[in-house]
Each structure stands twice: as C-alpha cells, then as structure tokens.
Symmetry: C2
Subunit: 295 residues, 2 copies
C-alpha cells in the first residue's frame, strides 16, 4: 500500500509518495514552511497539498521536522539522546489516529545547555539505513548545522552550529555586505584560503573583519570574498571538532552546501561521502516499517 512522507520545515516543505518498499513514486516541494501557516491552519494546508495522495481509504502519512515544534501543527516533545529508531517510534504523536503521525525531534545537553534538532534525526536514520554505517560522524549542513555522533545505530549526541545563519547575517546585513557578492559561485581556492585563515588562532570576530579589509585594499576580488567568508566560517566550525580518529564523515544535505564541507573536511585528510533528499525518505521509511501495520 502507498503512504505519504512529509518533511515540514521552517520555510519550506517536501513531500513524497512511497510504496511499501520505500520506493519514491512522486515528490513535491512547496514554500509552505510552518512560518507561512496561520495558527490552526495546518489541517487545511495539509489537505490542499496532499489530499489527493491521501484519498485512498487507509492511506497513512508520517511527518517530520518543524511541524512538531511549538509554532507547528502539534508540539511533539523532544526525545532525549542517546536515541535509536525504536525510541523515536515510541515518542511519535498521532495527529489524526490511524492517518497522520508526527515524528518528535531529539534533544541533547552539554553542561546545562540544551541542544535540539527536528527533522535531522530522520535523515540520520535514513543515512544509517542507506550506508549501513552504525557508528560514525554525520554532518547535516544548513542554517543550523548539526554534527552528530552515531554509535550502534543510535544517535549518541550532537551539537548545533549557527554557521549558515552567521553567513547569511554577515554577507547580507553586516559591513561586509558592501564589498562582497553573496550570490557569487563557489571559488574553491578562496574558500580554502578562508578555511586555512580560520586556524590562525585570532578567532572569527577578528578574521571576519579581514573580509572587509581585503576588499578595501583590493587584495581580493568581490567575486571571491563570499567564498573566503564561507571558508572562514566552516573552518571555524571544523576547528572545534576532533576528527583525528575519524576515517570518514557522512554529509547529508544540498549539493551546494555539502560540497563546501567535503572540501574543508578533505583538506584535513578525512574522507567524506554525501547523501541528499533520499536520506529523508529512507529515514521515514525506516520509521514506517516499525510504525505502520502494512507500510
């Protein structure tokens, strides 16, 4: 029997129609993230987008992502780390019993400061299923990047980095915006120069100003400065990771972002492999096989 998988994010959502083996039969994406949905408006938006797929009697849907947040459809309390697939399945919330289920996010805690994810946990379980790796480091680049440690197929713990949001703030709203082109294509040499520069011990708050002065003194063309800044930020993030004992990092995300992380991580001698949207559908399928009577 066919079923529906939805990854409902903050600014956009993606949905897929799958068969019982997890094969994707159709996909759709919409700029209808939770911030665009008025309070109480989730059922209506859902039916308008997925009503057709849900029409056959008994069709089920599993939703992951920010739809389970305070500002979402229904709040699904976070599941504590370490957490495996079975722990997440136990915490799934029925929005419409027997029809629509909502996956909770995960939370971790470091010295009294909580950390959270919503949606990425599904991508990780999907990546575990697709790669067969039950131990390792998984990185999910995005506005709020996640570095995730997986042990025995469970999410042992994770940390969030605001790298993507810092890049957007600095390249669009700071003094750097005057002299760089945020939409310029990736310049690999300038990017790696930024990664190297981030290791000089002077810190991001100082190094970011260099992206201003290099422009002031015409030392770097406008078209390279955004790549340099991106390298400074991703390099700063990498500096906090201990990858000495890591052979391979699994990257999950869009090609534009994972390519940058692959470049920076490869420069440290660690290899990478990359997954895209297929990790989301594989993760929701893994949940479905445990949750749905006839997935």
């Amino acid at each position: 029997m066919h079923w529906v998988a939805v990854d409902w994010g903050t600014s956009s959502l993606r949905g897929a129609l799958l068969d019982s083996t997890g094969k994707v039969l159709a996909e759709q994406g919409h700029p209808r993230g939770i911030l665009s949905v008025p309070a109480g408006g989730f059922p209506e938006v859902f039916e308008s987008l997925f009503g057709e797929w849900m029409r056959p009697e008994g069709t089920r849907c599993i939703i992951s992502g920010m739809a389970g947040s305070q500002q979402g459809w229904v709040e699904a309390p976070y599941c504590a780390c370490p957490a495996g697939l079975a722990d997440v399945v136990r915490s799934i919330i029925d929005i419409q019993p027997g029809r629509i289920a909502l996956v909770p996010g995960l939370r971790d805690e470091h010295a009294g400061v909580p950390d959270v994810m919503r949606g990425e946990e599904v991508q990780i379980f999907g990546a575990i299923a697709l790669t067969g790796l039950r131990d390792g480091v998984f990185v999910l680049p995005g506005t709020h990047n996640k570095w995730v440690r997986v042990k025995g197929g469970r999410v042992e713990g994770f940390r969030t980095f605001m790298t993507g949001e810092f890049y957007a703030l600095l390249s669009q709203h700071s003094i750097l915006a005057r002299t760089l082109d945020a939409d310029a294509p990736l310049d690999e040499a300038a990017f790696l120069q930024g990664v190297t520069q981030s290791g000089n011990g002077e810190g991001l708050l100082h190094n970011a100003f260099g992206a201003r002065t290099l422009a002031l003194f015409n030392r770097m063309p406008k078209s390279q400065l955004s790549s340099y800044l991106s390298g400074l930020l991703i390099g700063e993030e990498l500096r906090t990771q201990s990858l000495q004992t890591t052979r391979e990092v699994v990257l999950i995300g869009s090609p534009a972002l994972t390519k940058r992380y692959a470049l920076a991580i490869s420069a440290t001698g660690v290899s990478t492999r990359t997954l895209g949207a297929e990790a989301t559908w594989a993760g929701l399928h893994a949940l479905a096989t445990q949750l749905l009577p006839t997935p």
Copy 2:
C-alpha cells in the same frame, strides 16, 4: 587662541572648542556621521555645525575619524604601524590650508591581511598623554573593537574585532532575536556566565545557539539572555588575547561598553582603567601642539 577639535564618525560626530592648553570650553554632538552627508556636502555640514566657533580670524580645526575615509570629506591614506604621534602629524592632510586639517588613520598587517582604524589612533595618543603609560595594551570597545599594543609611546600594532557588530546582528536579526531583549540592562551574573561558557572550546557558532535553547527550555529569562550573549561574544574575543604578562588594560570608550570589558578582563585577574571622550580631546590636543603654530 581657541581651536576646534572634531571626531567625525560613521553614524555621528562630536566637536569641542578648546583653548591652547587643551581645556574643553564647549562640546557638541550630532547624528551627522559621514553616511548622512551627501557627496560634496562636507564643507556645508561643517560650516553649519562649527561656523560659529570658527568665526574668529585664524581659528584652526583638526578632524579625526571616518571623515578621512573613501566615503568621507577627503581620503587620507592610512599611516603604517608602528606609528607614533610624529608619524601621524607628518601624514596629516590640509583640507583648507591654515584652517582645517584631517588626521589619517592607521593600518597594520598580519600574514597578508590588512587591518585599519580611523579615529581610534587619536584616542590612544590621548590616553597615553592622560595616563603617562607609554607601553601597554589599550582596548577601544565599539562596533569594531580595537586591541592595540603600545610600545615606547607608539602604536606597535593592533587587531580589529567585529564584536559589537556581531552582537547587533545576532540580537536583532538572527533567530535569537525572537527570544531575547536586546535593550535589557546588563545582568552581570548572566554576562559572566556567557564569558565562562565561551571558554568551553566549542566555539561561538555553537555557543550562540545555546542562547536560543536556554530560552526554548525556559532555563534563562528573556531579560538575561542579551547579557549572556554579550558575555559569549566578549569572552570569545578575550580568548584570543595573551594577557599573561599584562598587568593592566586601558579601556577607552562609552561607560556602557567599557564596563562589560572591565568585568570580563577583571575575571582573568588583569586590572583595568577606563577613559571616555576626554581621550579624544587630549589626543587631538597632543596633535595640535605639534601641528598648529599657536595652538
């Protein structure tokens, strides 16, 4: 004879009427920073604000700050570090010979990346004159903070940190803005908690996200979060400084900002002393005594 000192910044300017001993007879401040002045409009703005003070025949004026930048009145090329008062005097530009002079900024360079200041060099020379310290560490908190090493009364070198701008971006434009009050008064305990947290080795990109999750889990009230974020940023800046051999740091700036640096630096066992606007007038006076025939 009386003379006029002007510190012309990016978003505002301050002017003072001084006598030949450097005593401030009158002060004025205006929101007429260089960004508010149309191209070619500097002479008119200057006369409208300071024409009265300049009326007596032969009255001189010295201007420091961003008025000497590319977007300013006249571009005054940076003076290279190390630079003392005499080096800066030699690089002063006559805007109106015998009437209005413009002080250049300083530049330094680290591994191929330039660093610059405009206006702060005058405050440093003023602080040297006021404190009698000819060797030491001088810090000028602001949108783009400067950490300056002074040796033998000259500026040996310096580094800029975008700490103030990062705070504005994060507290007003990032996801953190939803749960913190950027205008809340300083909470010293929360501030120092942020300073301590910044030393955990996880980096600013991760620690900043904690200011979001502490709010999500109601672990810290909204009124304390801006102080916590400020502590994270200033702590991050301090971590890059080697203050082991420093006994005292001279802070120059507004009371609201210097207080935060004094708190964070004192927590490392280094004492501080603080100067305000008087450093600017003392610095321009020090230049005037070398520049003007009868200051």
